[in-house]
């Protein structure tokens, strides 16, 4: 039992370390969005469905990125994927709302954000170009 547990911990540790070292994750919005920086707590609340607004009061529509979802949530909301699923199950089945739409294709997510003033998402820092505006680099 102990060995299995250690092995799992090792795998999780090595897994997150090697992925994180490849590139940073950045939170991006439309270049025309007046918001230039967001507090961590605001981003956390947006991606947990606890608010639907940027800090300036404008409507915000978050999008998940399948490729980086687990690392993003590990760092921003502190929830692992299964815990996040249970969190959303409680909200969905009590009518409190649905989780953000999840995009499988990072390129499509970027072009969606480039064309929608209300959207907010996260992508790999190497994919950043002038079509989107970076408002946070993940710690």
């Amino acid at each position: 039992m102990k060995t299995i547990y250690k092995l799992i911990l090792c795998l999780i540790f090595v897994g997150s370390y090697s992925v994180a070292s490849l590139a940073d994750i950045v939170v991006v919005v439309h270049p025309g969005n007046p918001v230039s920086a967001l507090e961590l707590s605001n981003i956390k609340r947006l991606f947990l469905g606890k608010t639907t607004k940027f800090s300036n009061g404008d409507t915000a529509v978050p999008f998940e990125n399948s490729a980086q979802k687990s690392i993003f949530h590990h760092q921003i909301t502190g929830k692992e994927v299964a815990q996040l699923k249970a969190y959303w199950a409680r909200r969905v089945f009590s009518g409190k709302g649905f989780p953000p739409k999840e995009m499988l294709d990072s390129g499509k997510l970027k072009s969606l954000i480039a064309n929608d003033l209300t959207s907010i998402g996260y992508i790999d820092s190497t994919a950043v170009d002038p079509t989107v505006k970076v408002i946070m680099i993940l710690p």
Partner: protein
Amino acid sequence: MARNKVVTSSLFILFTLSLMAKTSFANSDIEDIDHRLEAIEIMVNRFHVNGFATVGLTRSNVEAKSREGINEDMKFDRDSRAGIRLTTDIDDHSKFITQLVGRGVDNWDAELDWAYLDYQYSENIRLRGGRLVLPFFMISETIDVRYSQPWVRPIDEVYGNVPFTGYEGVDALYSMELGEMNLGFQAWLGTSSGESSGLQFENENMYGLVFTLEQDDLTVRIGHHLQDITIVGFSDFTDVKSEFSVLGVQYDGSQWLLLGEATRFKQDRMFDYVSYYTTLGYRAGRWTPHVTFADFDRDDGAVQQAITLGLRYDVSANIALKTEVKHVNEDTLEQQGLFDSVPEESVNILTISIDTVF
């Protein structure tokens, strides 16, 4: 019960009709295939389907049956259940919600648990009407969605005391953000009926208020509810005034999980009771070991205390495997507790289950 069915089925028919009226435009005048696809996409996006299921195996070491219906005979049907929830957007402000649940204990006869219209009146105010879930507990609305809970089943000493889960009526929800806090006020009104231990209950003049505070990973919920209870066929138990107060706390952090609810039930004629439980859990990767202490104390002398040790393993993001031992020490039992007879010795209930959401 029959009245419920009539109400829910007429709501369902109404809902279907309104849907047909809304979608009939699709065939006319759309020539371009892109437009047609877009129309289909818009139509499909108006429906959200969510489901859940649990398969469980359970038994205890004694002949006396616990209130969950468990004794020394191994059972598959106690915890097994499946449900499907359909959310249909009618327009930008209104949606209709239906939830169908089939439970092993009811021979899998599917019941339309909920069927209600949800109308967003303003940014902060939502109004709902139809067949709704009684908002007694913090987990009332997700009580069948076992995946969303740490345990194999909701703690019986607290959640097993109310024999009715739904009501016909209306409610209003006011929610607001205050800095990093979310505040919610809910007021509800309606009637309800249900069956417990062969008794048929009819409740009228039911209403209540619920206040919820959410900050970061912490939720605190306080509710107070009033109702007139009638047990059909017992003239002494007609329109018995009763009140029910509930305090719930949940902390759902990255590592630690704390969950608890305390209830007090008071009424004019029969017994009163208090009940509570506290669950503490620790997440270590996919494993969540947890421990629960639960207490039920009725003023006619029935007392039951239970300690539950459980382990949840998240197989994937949609599937959880759980195992649990619930221990009821015979020395802490007063009378027969919540068992159907006095257990011959201390009771251990063992359960293994698989939960899923999709």
